[in-house]
Symmetry: none
Subunit: 190 residues, 4 copies
Amino acid sequence: MVSKRERILNAAEELFAEKGFSAATVEEVAKRAGIGKSTVYEYFSSKDEIFRQTLKAGLESYLDAMKGRLKQPCSVRDVLTAIGTAHFNFVKEHTFTARLLADEYNDTPWARQWLLGLRERRIAMFSSLIRQGIAEGEFRLVDPRMAAEVLLGVLNALCAPLLNGKNKDAVSLERFHRGIAIFFEGMLAK
Amino acid sequence: MVSKRERILNAAEELFAEKGFSAATVEEVAKRAGIGKSTVYEYFSSKDEIFRQTLKAGLESYLDAMKGRLKQPCSVRDVLTAIGTAHFNFVKEHTFTARLLADEYNDTPWARQWLLGLRERRIAMFSSLIRQGIAEGEFRLVDPRMAAEVLLGVLNALCAPLLNGKNKDAVSLERFHRGIAIFFEGMLAK
Amino acid sequence: MVSKRERILNAAEELFAEKGFSAATVEEVAKRAGIGKSTVYEYFSSKDEIFRQTLKAGLESYLDAMKGRLKQPCSVRDVLTAIGTAHFNFVKEHTFTARLLADEYNDTPWARQWLLGLRERRIAMFSSLIRQGIAEGEFRLVDPRMAAEVLLGVLNALCAPLLNGKNKDAVSLERFHRGIAIFFEGMLAK
Amino acid sequence: MVSKRERILNAAEELFAEKGFSAATVEEVAKRAGIGKSTVYEYFSSKDEIFRQTLKAGLESYLDAMKGRLKQPCSVRDVLTAIGTAHFNFVKEHTFTARLLADEYNDTPWARQWLLGLRERRIAMFSSLIRQGIAEGEFRLVDPRMAAEVLLGVLNALCAPLLNGKNKDAVSLERFHRGIAIFFEGMLAK
DNA sequence: AATGAATGAGCATTCATTCAT
DNA sequence: TATGAATGAATGCTCATTCAT
């Protein structure tokens, strides 16, 4: 059985993703978690704290999903593709968290800072791999950080339909791969 | 002299971009516009309506900025680059509006629908051009809509530093062009 | 017509005196003032602030009532009696404020500090007069401050029935004077 | 070892004296008593009941302290002085209870009634002694009840520093005696 | 047209009390 | 007996909206 703390976190994740932090109410969170309103305060000291923990949990779960895909004995393109695929699957699985983690979240200043931090970590991960690809002659000579940003944008764009579309299942992984292929084609050493 | 209606819209644009729709208050909007709180209601029937109009104005202003760049007697790549450049300049100029228009805006359901509509229009514009590029042999054979999505993601990613960074001026157009070049390299017919 | 701010202050004074600060609610205050709950917040920033202002107003009104009775060309006993009489009348008139100003008010720490300050001012006033009485040979040699405390206790004790009794009018000024007479008899130089 | 019931009562006494009835919480009481929150309800049916019993215990403890000082074979003044001394020592020892018993306690209506009852009992005790003193020619002819009220006020005033001052030990019994001496001087038959 | 004043509906948070163990 | 967990009712405070001028 799932702990009450987790039930609250899950409900909050859904609601924050659906309506934003300010518009979601603690009462709704409680109701969706199937508990009384004040019980929420047994587990979290404030609404802000709920958000902080929701974000933290989502972030950890995201980074977990990326793990183990970094040091494989194959081309950088394959590694990046594997990471991209993990990203895709994560978004498909945790749509709500993914929306929270999407680049733009306007509600609360401190939340934005937090999310920008995550963005930086992802960019760092990508650019490090890209630098390696360049060194190994796999990619042509480009600014690695800039290329990393571009890749991040491509991933986000290709996953966007998962966030908003009603027919998530229609969004295929195969299409996703064809999308990032454009990026890779542009990156290859001629 | 700028009309009172516009003063309200400008103030609202800033505030919504800064703190999100829910967290911004009508009183703040009025104060920033330099007018009394109830005067706002002479021009807009509700807070929601203010947001709708803010969005509408931002959207129009964005589409205006794109106009005139579509039917030029040159390569599709040049046209798309021109559009991208217009996008870049718009974001630099209207940071606040740009944030509102950014793909993810989580606050209110109907706002999201509206923004998705804009996204679709941009994608349609891009994919139509890309289709033309393919037909003319400039681009290789790809799903035009998918490529359009990718391009959109690239544009957004490359403009993201303008939205959050403190040193906006450090973000150069030249870097932006090198970024989309990756996309075009991946699109060229071999 | 009495200002809304004053209506709130009056209602608050009554309620705080009746039930104490914590037990009184802002809604009750508003209802008793004949206004909406949130209107209260147009005039006072918080419940604490209401209490602070209530206390301040009560204190000023009390000190006003004492004024002009200090420098009369007669015996110190007469002056002190006049002050005592003013105290008596004030309590009769402003029962609620008087309860707030009574020595013991247990609710909020900062309020207690404030009230202790008032107590000190009253003691200072009394002891200065008593010192004068001693110097002029009217009173016997006693610690002036201690005597002042005693006098204050006597005044409070004799006014207590006004604070709690249902039949306030039965409490006569004449009885009050007979009461403080005991104090003065104990003070006279033999 | 002190019983759990008493531990609760002691904790409550402290807290009620420190912050007033409304502002004190059952959880704090439990914590200070070193027990779980719901255990409190094994011994007392409600927060109100805790207060009632706290008051009752304080009152009994106060009256106990007065006992045995009433029927001594000496002057009434000596008896009253002995009672006053007992009062002084009680306040010094049980500062918290003393604050609760102080004449003014504003928080809850029924508590006030109770405390007024105690006040009446003390006044009755005093006035009976004073009547005796008058009958025996020790005191001059005054309204015994009024004199009792005055005496009570004097005792309270002289003990007030014990309730609020930081330097309780600086408040001497000797000073206290000099204070009530003023009362007695005023009472003596010439 | 413009606005200060007023307010009800709503929200985050607290707390006395109950329940399950 | 003892208690951690749970919660509904209440409370201070906010804010979009209306009203009177």
